[in-house]
Structure formats: C-alpha cells, structure tokens
C-alpha cells in the first residue's frame, strides 16, 4: 500500500468556489483510483483547500493494479474448429489473446457457440497509470467562471495554476497541466513564508509541513480556529458576543490560509444609524462580524478575520487600518442617509420613471402602476371573502415600495433595497403598516426566509412578484432548463411560501384573476404550468413529501396550496398502512378496467356513466361493496369538509376487505351488458367517491 498526495497550487481562487471544487476534485480522484483498481480496501481519504490550493490525500493506494483474468470472446466455434481441429482463425485468436490453442474454451451465447480465452491482464504500476489521468481530472473540474492566461489559450481554469504536487509515497508522479509539471514542492503563506518552497517528502508530511509554513490546509481546523479566535477576542467586550453568521464564517475560512482575528471598535454615535445598515456594511462590504450584547443589541465593535498572525507591532497597525475603513464606510452611509431625507419618498415616485425595470417592460414607475392594479384586485378578493384590508395603507405601500431605488443609500448598498424603503417610511412618519409592508417586500428571498409579518406586506409581496413573473413570461423570458436570469422561480417560490404559510384566503388561480385580461392564452397556460410545477417543487423539495404523495395530491387539485399541503401531510401519515396500499392497488386496477372498457367502446368517453342500480347487483360481494361505499361516502365527505384528511383516509382504508372480496369473487367484464355496465358504474363510483383527497393510483407500492 502507498499514499497519494495531489495538490494544485493556484493564484487566489474565489472564496465562493473553493468548497465545491475541493469536494469535486476529491470525488474525481477517488473515483479515478477505483476505476483503475488502485484503491486499497482500507483506504482513507483526506481533502484540503485554501485560497491558493486544492489538495487530496488518499492513504492505502495500491502501488500496482492487481492482475486480472478476463474472458475474451473470439470467432464462432464452428469457424475456429473444423472436425475438432483448430483452423487458422483459432490460431490467430489464440495468438491475439496470448494463450495456447489448447486453452481455448467453448462458450454459449444467445447467438450461438463461440471460442473464448481466459486472458491474464497484467496490472500496471500506479505511477504509470496515474500521471495523465490525474491531470485530466484536474482539467475537468467545474468552475462557474473560467479564464485563459497562456498564449494560444491551451486551457481554461478558474485562475492560473502555479504549481502541482503529485506524490505516491516518495515518488513524484508525472502529472502535467497548464504547462506546469508536478514535483514535490509546495509553497507556504504568501507573505509570512514567502518565496522559499516547501519540500514534501511523503504525503503524510503534507499537513505538518504546511502548518510550519503558516498554512492551515485543513478547512475544518481553520474554521474551528477562526471560531475560537472570535470567541476569545469578544471576551474583552463586556457582555459581548459575536453575532453568529455561518455563511460569513465560511467566506472568511475560504479567504485565509493562516487566520487570526482583530477586534476593532467604532464611534458609538454611528449606532444612531439603523442596525440593518451597519450590519450590511460590516458583513457584506467588509466581511466583519458584528458584536452584540446578551440582549442582542448591536455594540460599537467589530471583528475582522485576518489572513496573517501579526506580531504585536503589526496588530495595532492592522486594527487601526480596519477601523479607518469602517469609519469611512459608516460616514458615507450616514451622509447618504441624511442626503436622502432631503427628498421624501412620496416625491420620489415620479423619479421612478427614469429607473429601468426592463427595457421592454418599462420603468419602475410603470411597474408600480401595474403592481397597484394587481394589489387592488387581490384586496377586493380578500374583502369579498370577509378579510378586512387596510386599503389605504396597502395602496401607499405599493406606491412607495420601489422609491428607495432612487436613494443614495440603496444605490450604495443595493442589498438593502426594501429595508431602506421601510426605514425611510418610518423616519418620514408615513405609517407603521406601510413601513412594515415595504420593509419585508422581498422576503422570502431564500426558501428559509420568513414571509412578511403583515397582511399588507404579504399582498405587496405577492402582487410585486406576480407582476414580474407575468411581465417576463409575456415577453418570452420564462425560465428554461438551468437558465433563470430573472430569478422567476425564486419569485414563484416566494409566492407559494406566502400562500402556503399565511392565513390569507387566496388560492393560486386568484393570481391569474389579477393579471391583464388581454394576456395571450398560450402564456396563461405556460404560467399555470409554471406555478403548478413550483408547487410540486415546494411540496417535494422544500417540504420533503415523497414524489408519489405529491403526484397523488396534485392530481386531484392543487389550487388551494394550504389544502394541498394538508392533504399531503395526511397521506404521508397513513401511507405506511397496508390497507391503504391495498386500496391504492385496487384503485389502480379499477382505473385500468375503466380504461380498457373505454378502449373497447363499452364505455363512451366523456359520457356520464349511469348510477349504480342496486337491483342489478347479483353477487353478495358486490352488494356488500355497494352497501359499504354508500355508508362510508357521507362520513368521508363530512371529514373532508372539515379538512380532517387523516381521519378521512383512515375511513377509506376500511373499505379494503370489501374491495378485496369484490375483486376476488366478482368478474366485471361479463357478457351480460346490463350487469357489466352496472359493475363498471359501481367501481367508477367507488373510485370517484374516494379519490377526492388524493389519487391513490399514483401511489407507489412499498
């Protein structure tokens, strides 16, 4: 057994791409070893990355591929042997396979009898196998954005590759990529360790030698050290703790090779700015952690994660530098805040005319007008259904929702759109309902985000997204495959989440009631399919319902999203029941019978089937099924009406013995036409009557 180390040294890789690349390279290397039969049974895999390197270490690699015997098939037996004597064909094949003619065997295949040879494949040395293949795996890595750097553009990669290490125990593997030949030299921290190369004698030395060269290559360890250092530095702030931010921890872990943390502070007078602004500046622009007290209130401190461990003289300089930058940023933000107050939001509505929403769809002023129409429609529907809407607040919120796009603060911190609008509405005394609605209008942006807390906010959020989606579909910009440049799927997910989680009495089709009447029918259909697909995505991928449960529920109807979710929940709860599985199987059978009957012309498609006539029932089994179904139907109906779906499903499951007995004893497709069509009517009635929660025939057994 030997140990393998493969490291690619690069100019700084974008932090957001490192984790995926490390995982992919590891998977590729392990898969390559497996494919080449070089992976030992008790192998161990480690992967490492820093901004300047990706590395994989596999302990327990075979030095040589094991020899293998494989059967090789040759000419037909009848061609190879005439009267038991080998022909020239047999001899040629034996030569090719490297065996004696006497060793040839007869094998039977579907096409007849053939000559076969049991051929010994000698394994090759790992070092001979891996060189080119490792390079190919590296070259095949996926990067969201590539570049060229060498003349004639021989390769594309995320950033220039500057060194490669490829070691099998002590031996260098002949790997070459992007004009770089692998060796046993790597490089330490760019500044602290500098130009001197680090010689790796054996893969097991890798981590230790890099650590000595001021590089912590193990990502988990680096992350752990950053968290510890954040804790430690925050201790000097009375009652302070750093605000947890897992995404930011990942980012700084991927921006550093030798991290440490500096605690800095800022003038408490900046705390008069809204926390959202301060935190955005710190987190998004400076990658600093915010510090809060035990009550969660922001404190005038920040934590910067450094890519160095400075000596005492250095840390003061660095802290001072970071404080300077943050001060300038905060002072900018305050300047923008004050400048923005000179033009109240209400005077900014007109200014939206010069902010493009989309070149074919017009300005944000146009969008605002369209949003207003949709919100009005939705408010009308809500009122019809007995929900009180503060129409004035809603209209004001929709009207002002986009005005913050004209403010300096949002131009500077685009990620604060909506939030800034809400804060300005509050500062300008335009009403708390309006402020809340505007503040939350873009939430949920990600599926885990909360929905707007107020009804006006929910309606604004829906109206805005519906307008965008319908507008984009109308000019042919619907998402296709992996392309969704306007994030319409995300917008639709937001609508689904709001409809699913709010108490608003709105269903999906209401959304289309609110779009322009002259919208093309084809586009309407596309929109309906799009929303249906989004609901299924929601149920399946976000709520985690099994795909057959989702299919069964959606096949019935899915206009009311909360109802669809309740039915999916009930179905999931009872899907393990044997009785229900049997019902599902029986319903599938019923569907088949009805379909065949239709195909044979016994049933006229589309024509209403007559009701079951009790007089024509002959067999005790069909009489029993009919009686039970008649008894059960009103009970189930009542439970359904109360949305007690689980109890309803449990009732339906009690039909099982009767259904089973029916199919056991009764033949549906008998010659007597009257009896036959009566039996068809009976099973159709059973199927129709008990398939209103879910279409059981969609359920997959087991």
């Amino acid at each position: 057994m030997a140990d393998l180390l493969f490291e690619a040294g690069l100019e700084e890789i974008p932090a957001r791409m490192i984790a995926a690349a490390e995982a992919e390279l590891t998977e590729r290397v392990v898969e390559l070893l497996r494919r080449e039969r070089l992976l030992g049974e008790d192998h161990e895999v480690h992967s490492y990355s820093t901004p300047r390197r990706l590395a994989v270490q596999v302990n327990g690699v075979l030095k040589r591929q094991p020899d293998a015997r494989r059967e090789m098939t040759g000419p037909a037996w009848s061609v190879a042997f005439k009267d038991g004597q080998p022909t020239a064909a047999a001899q040629a094949f034996a030569r090719k396979a490297g065996v004696e003619v006497a060793a040839l065997e007869k094998v039977s295949t579907a096409k007849g009898e053939y000559v076969a040879a049991n051929v010994l494949h000698r394994g090759r040395e790992a070092s001979a196998v891996l060189g080119d293949l490792l390079a190919a795996e590296l070259a095949a890595l996926y990067w969201p954005k590539n570049m060229h750097w060498r003349a004639l553009k021989p390769e594309r990669f995320v950033r220039p590759v500057r060194w490669l290490v490829a070691l099998l125990d002590h031996a260098i593997l002949p790997v070459e990529f992007a004009g770089v030949s692998a060796g046993n030299l790597t490089w330490g921290h760019r500044i602290l360790h500098g130009d001197a190369a680090v010689t790796i004698d054996h893969p097991d030395d890798y981590l230790g030698l890099l650590e000595a060269a001021q590089v912590t290559a193990d990502v988990a360890l680096r992350r752990h050290r950053i968290r510890k250092a954040l804790d430690l530095e925050t201790r000097s702030v009375p009652d302070g703790r750093w605000r947890e931010d897992a995404a930011l921890v990942e980012t700084v872990t991927n921006l550093t090779e030798w991290p440490s943390v500096a605690l800095g502070n800022f003038d408490p007078e900046y705390l008069e700015l809204p926390e959202e602004v301060l935190v955005t500046v710190m987190r998004d622009h400076q990658k600093y952690f915010a510090v809060e007290n035990s009550a969660g209130k922001l404190q005038p401190y920040f934590l910067a994660v450094l890519n160095t461990r400075p000596e005492e003289t250095g840390i003061e300089t660095i802290r001072h530098g970071h404080e300077r930058v943050l001060r300038a940023r905060f002072s900018d933000a305050r300047f923008f805040w004050r400048v923005d107050q000179k033009i109240p939001l209400e005077d900014r509505v007109e200014m939206l005319k010069s902010v493009t929403f989309h070149k074919e769809l017009g300005s944000y002023w146009d969008k605002t007008q369209a949003n207003l129409r949709i919100a009005e429609k939705l408010a009308g529907l809500l009122e019809e259904r007995g929900t009180t809407v503060d129409r004035k607040a809603l209209a004001k919120a929709v009207e002002l929702a986009k005005t913050d796009l004209t403010t300096e603060l949002v131009k500077e911190f685009t990620e604060l759109q909506g939030i800034v609008g809400g804060l300005y509405v509050r500062a300008q005394g335009l009403g708390e309902k309006v402020a809340q609605a505007i503040y939350w209008q873009y939430s949920p942006a990600a599926v885990e985000d909360p929905i707007p807390p107020t009804m006006e906010g929910q309606v604004l959020g829906i109206a805005d997204r519906v307008q965008t989606i319908v507008g984009m579909f109308a000019i042919g910009l619907e998402p296709t495959g992996s392309k969704d440049p306007y994030a319409l799927r995300r917008a639709a997910n937001g609508i689904v989440k709001i409809l699913a989680e709010t108490g608003l009495p709105l269903v999906r089709s209401d959304l289309f009631a609110a779009v322009p009447a002259d919208l093309d029918v084809g586009i309407r259909e596309k929109l309906a399919a799009f929303f249906e697909e989004r609901l299924e995505f929601w149920l399946r991928d976000i709520r985690g319902f099994a795909y057959d449960v989702v299919n069964a529920v959606v096949a019935v109807h899915s206009d009311n999203m909360r109802d669809a979710i309740a039915r999916a929940e009930a179905l999931t709860a009872v899907r393990g029941s044997e009785d229900l599985a049997a019902i599902a199987a029986a319903f599938k059978r019923i569907k088949n019978i009805l379909r065949q009957a239709e195909e044979k012309g016994i049933l006229n498609p589309g024509r209403e089937m007559g009701a079951t006539s009790p007089d024509l029932l002959q067999d005790p089994a069909e009489k029993a099924l009919y009686a039970e179904a008649m008894k059960l139907a009103p009970v189930v109906e009542k439970l359904q009406a109360r949305r007690e779906y689980r109890q309803a499903l449990e009732k339906i499951a009690t039909l099982r013995p009767h259904v089973d007995l029916f199919f056991d004893k009764v033949m549906v497709m008998v010659d007597d036409a009257a009896v036959r069509s009566n039996r068809l009517a009976l099973i159709a009635q059973v199927l129709g009557g008990f398939s209103k929660i879910a279409d059981f025939s969609e359920m997959v057994a087991g």
Partner: protein, 346 residues
C-alpha cells in the same frame, strides 16, 4: 468639512507625499521594464479607457506600460464635501501583455516600495471581476484588500471590443488617493499631503490643489451644464465618429480587400517587395485615423456621463444611447485590430 491645512505638522510628517507615492510607483514599474506613458489628455471614466490600455491590449504585440490617469465620473462628484468621494480621482495603471508568471509577487513588491511592510499588514486577494459592457470588455481578477481597504483592482483581461484577447493582458489599477490617505493616515482625501517643500517644509495638501475643481465641476456637472448643448455635442461627435467608421468600412472592410491587404502586408513585411500601387493601399490603411475615431468615442462617453449626472437621460434614451456608444467603441476596436493586423509594422 475638509480642512484646507494639513493636520500633520511638517516635522512629524514621515509617510510618502502624494507626489512621492506617484514617483515611487512609476519608478518601480520603470525599473521592471515598463514604458512610462503620460496620462491621456482627454476625459476618461477610468484608466482602462485610455487607448494605452483599451487599444493596446488588442492583438499579439507584447507591451509593458504604466501611466497615471485622472479619471472623471461626473455622477460621483460631491462638491468637495464628502471626505471619501471625488469627481476626478487618480489611477495608476499598469498593463503587462503577456502577464509574467510572478505578476502577483511583483505587485506585492510594489507595495513594499511605497513603504508598506507586508508582514505588518493583512493582505487578501478577493474575487472581483471587471466588466465594461460599453467597450465589450471584461476580465477576471481580484480587488486587493489591505487591512480591509480596497487599494488595487487586479484584472486578467479576457475580452476587449467584443474580441477574445490572445495573449491576454494583466492590468493593475492602483487607487492613488486611497493609498495616499492610508499611508498618511488621514480621514479626508483633502487632507492628503500632496507635497512638502524641501526647503521651507511647507505642506501643500490635496485640498489646496484640487478642492476648487471638485466644487466647481460638481456645480457644472450637476447644475450648470447646458443639457441641450450637451446633446448637441454628443450628436456632433457621434456623427463624426460614425462617418469615420463608415469610411473605414467602405474602403477597407469587405473580405476581398481584407485578403488583398493581408497579402500585400505579407509581401511588404516579409519579402520587402511590393508594387507601388500595393504600397499605396497599405499606406492608406495605415494612416486611416482610427485613433481619431476613438477620441470621438471618448468624447461621447464623457458627454453621456455628464447628461446622466444632469439627470437628463430617460429610460428609453439611456438604453438606446448606450447601445449606440457601444457600437462605436466596439467598431473602433475591431477596426483598430484589423488595421494593426493588415497594415501594422514598418
């Protein structure tokens, strides 16, 4: 409010002055083989738009060039009231084609050269990709962060004028005001010490040199510029540029001519023989004023920025005018590349 006198006393002042910073960086790159060019004497929004970058990155000829470039962004003007923002800031631009393999290392040495002891600072290369859609240009690279301050934009140019670059260029853009404020540890750009008189030790600040310009040009850009005249200028410059491009296309664009030119070029350059008529064609192509057309593009681009700062461009106009300028800029880049390829050389 900025102060007009420097906060540092001359005796205590040890950091590089603004002009020393400039001299050091230029000296550093000159020693590493760069030609020091002068700032382009026209309004540009960024050092990249100088023909020394935008046009020289095209084609195969290697270059190493460095220059400072005042860059004007009318909408960024703050009447001299904001300590961190300027209408006109100064970039030091370095273009290396092809980029040397140790370009990052050389760059870091340049920081040492201006007195930044790297071991005492926190330096990160964070992803930042650059794009100038109007120029059909983009590249990938980093913003270089020094103790949390973005001091440099580092870009590997990939496309320019809508054309793939081969070889690519490495572009290093230093933000000089920021670096000077950092080195001198002042909170306002206007407090940067521009120069210290070696005899009297009198300090001249950035504010003394530039504040009036920031104030008055903010007034001009936001309030005084005559919108109808700006439109008129834009129309005139655009018309002239377009006329030049049309003429270029008429005379040199079609494929037959292009082929003939290449043959002539080959004969002249490689064999040193050409008929007098052929030589005439080559000369005509070579002296065609594409560089003049580019200057007209720069005029248009600046006028567009001015109109934008005046809030005079509506949505529909904006998209349309930008598309027109893009067509001109990309058209010039393509013509320039064709001209160099077919008539370049001596």
């Amino acid at each position: 409010m900025p102060t007009l006198t420097a906060s540092s006393t001359p005796a205590a002042f040890k950091a590089l002055t603004f002009q020393e910073l400039l001299l050091r960086l230029q000296g550093f790159w000159a020693e590493r083989g760069c030609v020091l060019a002068q700032p382009y004497d026209m309004e540009v929004g960024a050092g990249t738009m100088s023909p020394d970058t935008f046009l020289r990155v095209l084609g195969p000829d290697p270059i190493a060039i460095a220059y400072t470039q005042p860059s004007r962004r009318p909408a960024d003007g703050r009447y001299g009231e904001n300590p961190n923002r300027l209408y006109k800031h100064t970039q030091l631009q370095v273009i290396l084609k092809p980029p040397p393999v140790d370009i990052q290392q050389i760059y870091l040495e340049s920081l040492e050269a201006i007195g930044i002891r790297l071991r005492e600072h926190d330096i990160k290369f964070e992803e930042d990709n650059w794009e100038w859609p109007v120029g059909g240009a983009w590249g990938v690279g980093w913003q270089v962060m020094l103790d949390g301050l973005e001091i440099t934009q580092f870009t590997y140019f990939q496309q320019c004028g809508g054309m793939d670059l081969d070889p690519i260029s490495g572009e290093i853009t230093y933000g000089l005001e920021r670096i000077a404020a950092f080195l001198q540890d002042v909170n306002s750009i206007y407090d940067i010490v521009w120069a210290v008189d070696p005899k009297t030790r009198r300090v001249v600040t950035y504010g003394e040199i530039r504040l009036e310009e920031e104030l008055q040009l903010s007034v001009y850009n936001f309030e005084a510029a005559d919108v109808s005249k700006l439109w008129e200028h834009l129309r005139l410059y655009e018309g002239e540029c377009q006329a030049l491009l049309d003429e270029f296309h008429r005379n040199f664009k079609d494929e037959k001519t292009a082929e003939r030119h290449e043959k002539i070029h080959d004969r002249v350059v490689h064999d040193g023989v050409a008929t007098p008529a052929e030589e005439d064609v080559r000369v005509a192509l070579r002296r065609f004023p594409i560089l003049g057309a580019y200057e007209l593009c720069l005029k248009c681009s600046h006028l567009f920025n001015l109109l934008d700062a005046r809030g005079a461009i509506s949505v529909t106009e904006r998209v349309a005018v930008m598309a027109r300028i893009r067509n001109m800029v990309v058209g010039v880049a393509k013509a320039y590349a064709a001209q160099r390829q077919r008539a370049g050389g001596r």
